[in-house]
């Protein structure tokens, strides 16, 4: 069976996996990092977004073996000890979630877009959210949260 060696939230991981194992399943089933959600499993919803070498990807559409040698960050790896990540705090402040199912993917996507764009207007944020679906909020609070967090990050 193929073996995969990678870093997940700073921890070295080595696992024997079937070639077909998805990165989302490696994270959830093997490593018990269940913050990464699987909403559709068909590359549409973005609930499964994690960072692979610093880039936002849909972990349901990556094989675990493709992550060989990579650095993976999940929602669990974002916050420091005892404090929320600023984007997490902004989602709480601006009502960026209701049921919370889409939230891990939304936040991982938001962190990626803020890193690339800095401060953003609402139209840019909506365009960047193309790959993330939310069935509760109507997106207004999500966009407000990212807008605020992006301003804060840009200083």
């Amino acid at each position: 069976m193929p073996q995969v060696t990678l870093t997940v939230n700073g921890q070295a991981v080595r696992e024997e996996v079937e070639a077909r194992l998805l990165l989302s399943d490696l994270l959830r089933e093997r490593l018990r990092l269940t913050g990464t959600h699987v909403g559709c499993d068909t590359s549409q919803c973005g609930a499964c977004v994690v960072h692979l070498d610093g880039r936002a990807v849909k972990s349901c559409t990556v094989l675990a073996v493709q992550a060989e040698g990579a650095r993976v960050t999940t929602i669990e790896g974002l916050a420091g000890e005892g404090a929320l990540h600023p984007v997490q705090a902004a989602f709480r402040e601006h009502h960026g979630l209701q049921c919370g199912f889409c939230t891990p993917g939304m936040i991982m996507t938001a962190v990626d877009m803020i890193a690339r764009h800095g401060a953003m207007d609402r139209a840019t944020i909506r365009r960047e959210l193309e790959g993330n679906l939310c069935r509760c909020t109507g997106y207004h609070g999500i966009v407000s949260a990212i807008e605020a967090a992006s301003r804060e990050a840009a200083g």
Binding site: E18, R20, D41, S43, G46, L63, E68, T109, M113, E130
Partner: protein, 269 residues
């Protein structure tokens, strides 16, 4: 999803050897089309030959009047590349319109053109920018590469290694996205090359094609009103739940005018 063997190729030769040894093996690049297809049992490969670690498939280089883009370059990398943005801004913009940010972070040029989805974006850029497709075995013009509905000229065991796009004097892409998938309901790339104007259409027909009548009009004058009133015949166009053939024909006309306006606005003289 059914299991398969997994081979990580280090060189083009290794990939070609592994693919040639097993007719049921498939190349894996960004996985953004292949992994969903395997989940849906549309593809059932015996083995995946991962091209992701092959350094020779990476990189973007200027070669005189051409831009050579490695098959392994991701959509987000092409969209952000300073050289592409300066020399072929329409190509950079097109790459930035593919799917969504997460798909652009993994999906590659080689995987896109090897699939030749009739609604894919890159094939339009290849035809409009008179691209040459480099494979592990040969070089061929884009028009000979895209052979039909999800069909290309690739032989078993042959992989795309790079695409050489001609830098246009002017060029832009206009796309009407399917709101559900992000793919092109229709997309039109209008370019002015040294050799003359080109108009390539994707999403409308069973495969990407050049719109000869529009090119003829633009050859008479590459001006903002050159395509006024021109609508392509809808005879061979796709008709499905997303749009009728007649609606697609109308969209081609509108997208062509928008692309022309974009090309003129961004013209390098």
């Amino acid at each position: 999803m059914p299991d398969f063997a997994y081979i990580r190729a280090r060189t083009i030769a290794e990939a070609v050897e592994a693919l040639s040894a097993d007719p049921q093996a498939r190349a894996l690049s960004g996985g953004q089309t292949l992994i969903p297809s395997i989940k849906q049992r549309l593809a059932q490969p015996s083995a995946l030959v991962d091209l992701g670690a092959i350094a020779a498939l990476r990189g973007i280089a200027r070669e005189e009047a051409h831009l050579r883009v490695g098959a392994g370059m991701r959509h987000a990398e092409v969209a952000a590349d300073a050289g592409v943005r300066a020399l072929a801004p329409g190509l950079a913009a097109l790459a930035g319109l593919i799917g969504d940010p997460q798909v652009r972070n993994l999906g590659t040029l080689g995987g896109s053109i090897a699939t030749n989805d009739p609604a894919a974006d890159y094939p339009a850029a290849c035809l409009a920018l008179d691209a040459e497709i480099e494979t592990s075995a040969r070089r061929l013009p884009a028009e000979a590469f895209f052979t039909g509905f999800f069909e290309t000229a690739l032989a078993p065991g042959e992989i795309v290694t790079a695409v050489r796009f001609t830098c246009p004097r002017a060029g832009a892409y206009a796309k009407h996205r399917s709101p559900a998938s992000g793919y092109a309901l229709t997309g039109v790339f209008v370019a002015l090359l040294e050799a003359g104007p080109r108009v390539a259409v994707t999403g409308a027909g069973p495969g990407v094609f050049r719109w000869a009548e529009a090119e003829r009009r633009l050859a008479e004058g590459f001006t903002a009103d050159a395509l006024e009133g021109l609508v392509p015949p809808a005879d061979d166009f796709l008709s499905d739940l997303h749009a009728s053939a007649a609606y697609r024909a109308q969209l081609v006309a509108v997208m062509a005018r928008r692309a022309l306006a974009g090309a003129i606005a961004g013209s390098r003289g």
